[in-house]
Symmetry: C2
Subunit: 658 residues, 2 copies
């Protein structure tokens, strides 16, 4: 880390106060001393390259300039990546994650080649025949072509793109029959990708055969001009992820050879059709991305917490006691309340993400529920991404005006975090899928079926009485209360649903009418899952007492904070009474106070490289005011004392009434 | 309004379903038929000017180009404004509000001359002597000079800028002793304003005399070059309000004549000093802005609701019943739950804003508490602005990916809305000021003093017992419950505070340690104020039964939604029991269902001009998909089929591994 020489004295002082060794936390976070060393080497390999520095912060550029600059950097970093791979030889999955996180830091507003890696290649792997793989896979992996993949929204059956097979020419003819059937949003599609895997409704011999995947060439490899019949362009500017170059795509009698249908699981010898053995495999490609998203949510919140906490010890404001100097704003209890729960939440999400990751890597395939969806993912994704996004905004707001500046980097982090609430499963849709799973699980429990561990508490709850026990301010008791709340809400949700069905509503109408309650069941279940997982994993960690103390404080804070934010549910469904709230409130306040001296130590332990944080407020050295001026000095407007608009517009206007 | 010919059929259908006449709501919102006519005329006068149209959406431009284009438009519109004023003659305060809202729509990312009107002129009016006013006021009002005003943060006493009086030359010498004493954030200061009212610590005869205001020339009127010793520039890019050109300002021995100190309330004949009769008047200038902010919060949320609701009847997605067509997404109960409470909240905030506005205009001065702050403002501002900002984000998220696009205009609205949480009183600071007021009010109630109407319920609560009455699903009962909750939280907050003081903590430390609870007291009080005011004012409105029914539904929805979101407090502090929740939940769901057919009618009644909404998703005609394509076609990237970065970077990279 940087020398302490130029470090802000307040930040230096915080580091001296810390009761544990942040490096121990770093090793824990990055899975050991060796992995951490490897991470530092990789960061150094990429971050030290002057070609990967922004000369002017992207925020000052036009939309077009941002795109061009990002393509430049993307080419440089992917070239380096190929170089790294060829030197390193075998790359394991942990190293792969490290590489991806470095790329994400350099291309912080989105990686224009990202979809090639996380969607195009997996689609070929999962759905291509050996012949198709040998033709396309190597080219994609070596970046001879840039592929993307076209999502389908939540209603696959309604997909309007058609692929008619013409047995005479042995070609498929792709069409977008309406404006609303144009693909919209495909990453990198605007001006970057030259190939895409496209979902379309297949028709052969005049019969609709269902959804299939096709490799479609979008642009000429030499000229990059769109292929005949391809209508392509970018969709425009967005809240964040400006460099992703999302595009639209329409087909007007686009003809592709027969061997471009991905046919690992389907055959089409002469227009006759053999269905794939399992439709579910079509979903395989997106699963890896989804698992990675949870880890992203944890990282985004941890980064925002780091920036806000470092800034809050440097920033001094107002007075607490008359006549005394302005306190560090982190000494305000309300500021601690904005930041420390988010710090704790970032770790809670990280633990759940690791759990889901383990389910993924252990089984290699995701466990699907009856509708073909990944239950572990859905359960965690909606609550993790929305909590992370809101947390990032809370961190930004806690930094006042300076948080509002883009050089704080909060807005960029938020732009990525809030996008996760929508893509790869819109959060409300996922909550309702989880709710459907929970309703079934409850009914199974009632009929005596044993449930998988993460919902086993539903069955236990059946035989419990709410008020059988006095409230206890202990973590095991609180975890139990989370389970009771979740079970209670599931029971109530099902009751409301059945009441409507018994009242004569069609099941679908009843479901829709009850869906507010049902979504809340899923949220309560996810919170229970997060609290349980966090508490359990922290307890299992093998580390020094000093560090363990802090980690336990964080896990307790997460549990109590989450409880108090939902105290209505606990009063309604657990044995907590209004008289128990004060005690929990004081416990939470004591945890905030206990964490205060170690706050900087904890975020130092996360050890985000300054380049990853990319923030004038959150750098390791805490030179906030100097960096704000440095960033301002990069503004092209500040390169001249007088802007041309004065002579063109302002002066004539000011003089016009004289 | 536009012809119905090209209107989206789903939207057309919604309009036929509406049970009331939206025009009646429009007249109500805009205070009568005549005012509404005037509004339309003003909108037409400005919006029809082709010079005020954006050729390219600002989002595609660079930061510098955005600035230049905004200065151009600001000059055009302010010239038109002077023209309008000279034709119209006397302009009353309602007309002034209409004019300001049209300017805000054209300069939707901030008005670079706004501070001249809302800060600089009022500062001169409030603090200038007759001589100073005759010299500066007319010039500022006619835009011969552009002034701004320098805020001071929440800690005025800590202000570091110094003004030393030199009796020899009869000048003040201004200095910024440190980097952190540089003014930062002043609107329009970067490259636009040429004058500023500056706060500084006055020193005469070696003695510190407290804070005073000075008119400082920042830039030469002919060349616009910074004056000697003035260090000025812009601070850089921000989350929103990109055109405001916030700047930094430092002084290095800047000499200004003696008559530039605003001296209405102070005298300085020869270096000897007579203090102003009241420091509080110094705050006067900012009060008008603060009151206007509440109305802004209501408008932002109403606009976001309009966009999201219109989009939600055009957008169809998934399936509710197998085999049926995709439903309009507004038919999903969860979507109604995201949007209708925000619609209701926008009206609730509007009613409270009108109340505060009336307090302001009736008394001409704001009522201050003992620390010189406006209690009515503080009470409402924190909760109104943060609720509005969160609501705008909820509306955006409810529109999925398309909400994420800047052409939806949500991000621009959010950028302005979220800024309000920080400026003119940071929300947490204001909540704690309100809490201090509430603690005093409670203590007064205990000692038998009568309280002002808005807190009179605290006294009533003293003599009540929580469980004296069964819960009733009626609005008067719910309003009462809000008061009980607020009183209960105030009582608990004070108890926690006193417990800490009795335990030996210094009062300031005890206050800080209890501040989470205290801020929550202020929030509960503000919610009570909002609910009470909304219910009361809707009841008073004189209108058709058809419209009244809908308005009552909205006020009930606001009350019940707010209650359920805070049900823990109601279980703890009111006579509500867990068994009462289901009934309230069903009541709320029934209100959502009842409002569904009128949702479009209500937002049509708000009658925002398409130019004000500035949204591809929310226009009156509902041509969402056509407009999305139109907006995409404006992207400079889409003007060429192949971007230069392909030849410069991408092609060499793709070919490099061959």
């Amino acid at each position: 880390m940087d020398s302490n020489k130029t470090v802000n004295p307040d930040l230096k002082n915080e580091r001296q106060k810390c009761t544990f060794n942040p490096l121990e936390l770093t090793y824990l976070v990055y899975e050991g001393r060796d992995r951490n060393k490897q991470r530092k080497e990789i960061e150094n390999f990429f971050f030290s390259d002057p070609d990967l520095q922004d000369k002017v912060p992207l925020d000052f550029l036009s939309h077009k300039e941002k795109y061009e600059e990002t393509i430049r950097k993307a080419c440089v970093i992917h070239k380096k990546l190929l170089e790294y791979r060829s030197i390193a030889g075998h790359i394991d999955s942990e190293t792969e994650k490290l590489l991806q996180s470095v790329i994400a830091a350099v291309l912080k507003d989105g990686n224009p080649f990202g979809l090639n890696t996380v969607m195009f290649v997996p689609a070929l792997l999962g759905q291509g025949t050996p012949e198709q793989q040998s033709k396309w896979l190597k080219r994609a992996i070596k970046y001879e072509i840039i592929g993307t993949e076209l999502g389908h929204g939540t209603f696959i059956r309604g997909l309007e793109t058609t692929a008619h097979y013409d047995p005479n020419t042995q070609e498929f003819i792709l069409n977008s029959p309406t404006l609303s059937s144009y693909k919209w949003w495909m990453p990198s599609m605007g001006h970057t990708a030259n190939y895409a895997v496209v979902m379309a409704q297949l028709y052969t011999q005049g019969v609709r055969r269902g959804i299939h995947l096709f490799i479609v060439q979008i642009r000429d490899e030499e000229t990059h001009e769109p292929m005949p019949g391809i209508k392509v362009g970018e969709i425009g500017t967005k809240v964040g992820m400006h460099a992703i170059n999302n595009g639209y795509l329409g087909f007007e009698n686009v003809r592709i050879p027969r061997n471009r249908m991905l046919m690992k699981n389907a055959q089409l010898p002469d227009g006759s059709y053999v269905k794939a053995p399992s439709d579910k495999l079509t979903y395989g490609a997106m699963m890896f991305v989804r698992v990675i998203m949870l880890q992203g949510a944890a990282a985004q919140l941890a980064q925002a917490s780091t920036i806000a906490i470092r800034y809050s010890v440097v920033r001094r404001q107002s007075e607490m006691k008359p006549g005394e100097p302005e306190p560090q704003i982190l000494d305000y209890r309300t500021q601690q309340y904005k930041l420390f729960p988010n710090l704790a939440t970032s770790l809670a999400i990280k633990q759940s993400a690791s759990f889901v990751w383990k389910m993924y890597t252990d089984n290699f395939v995701i466990k699907f529920d009856s509708s073909g969806n990944s239950i572990f993912y859905e359960r965690a994704k909606a609550v993790c991404t929305s909590t992370a996004a809101q947390g990032v905004e809370t961190c930004r707001l806690s930094c006042g005006g300076h948080g509002y500046m883009t050089c704080s980097n909060f807005s960029c982090i938020y732009g990525v975090a809030t996008a996760s609430c929508t893509y790869e499963g819109e959060n409300t849709v996922l909550l309702l899928q989880t709710a459907r799973y929970l309703m079934k699980a409850w009914q199974q429990a009632v009929s005596g079926v044993n449930l998988t561990p993460t919902v086993a508490y539903l069955k236990e709850a059946l035989s419990e009485r709410k008020s059988s026990q006095q409230w206890e301010n202990s973590i095991p008791h609180i975890v139990k209360a989370f389970q009771r709340v979740s079970a209670g809400k599931v029971r109530m949700g099902l009751k409301s649903l059945q009441k409507r069905i018994n009242g004569g509503f069609a099941p679908e109408v009843a479901w829709n009418s009850t869906s507010i309650e049902l979504a809340e069941c899923a949220e309560a279940h996810a919170r229970t899952f997060l609290v349980e997982t966090f508490i359990k994993r922290i307890a299992e960690i093998n580390c020094s007492v000093a560090l363990k103390t802090v980690l336990v404080q964080l896990s307790e804070l997460f549990a109590i904070y989450t409880l108090l934010r939902n105290k209505g549910d606990f009063l309604a469904f657990s044995n907590m009474t209004p008289q128990d709230i004060s005690g929990l409130q004081v416990w939470m306040e004591n945890l905030l106070e206990a964490l205060r001296p170690n706050a900087v130590g904890i975020v130092d332990g996360f050890d985000f490289h300054d380049r990853v944080l990319s923030s004038a407020l959150g750098a390791y050295d805490g030179r906030v005011y100097e960096r704000l001026f440095e960033e301002a000095s990069k503004s092209p407007l500040n390169k001249e004392t007088v802007n041309q608009s004065f002579h063109k517009y302002l002066k004539p206007f000011l003089k016009s009434s004289l």
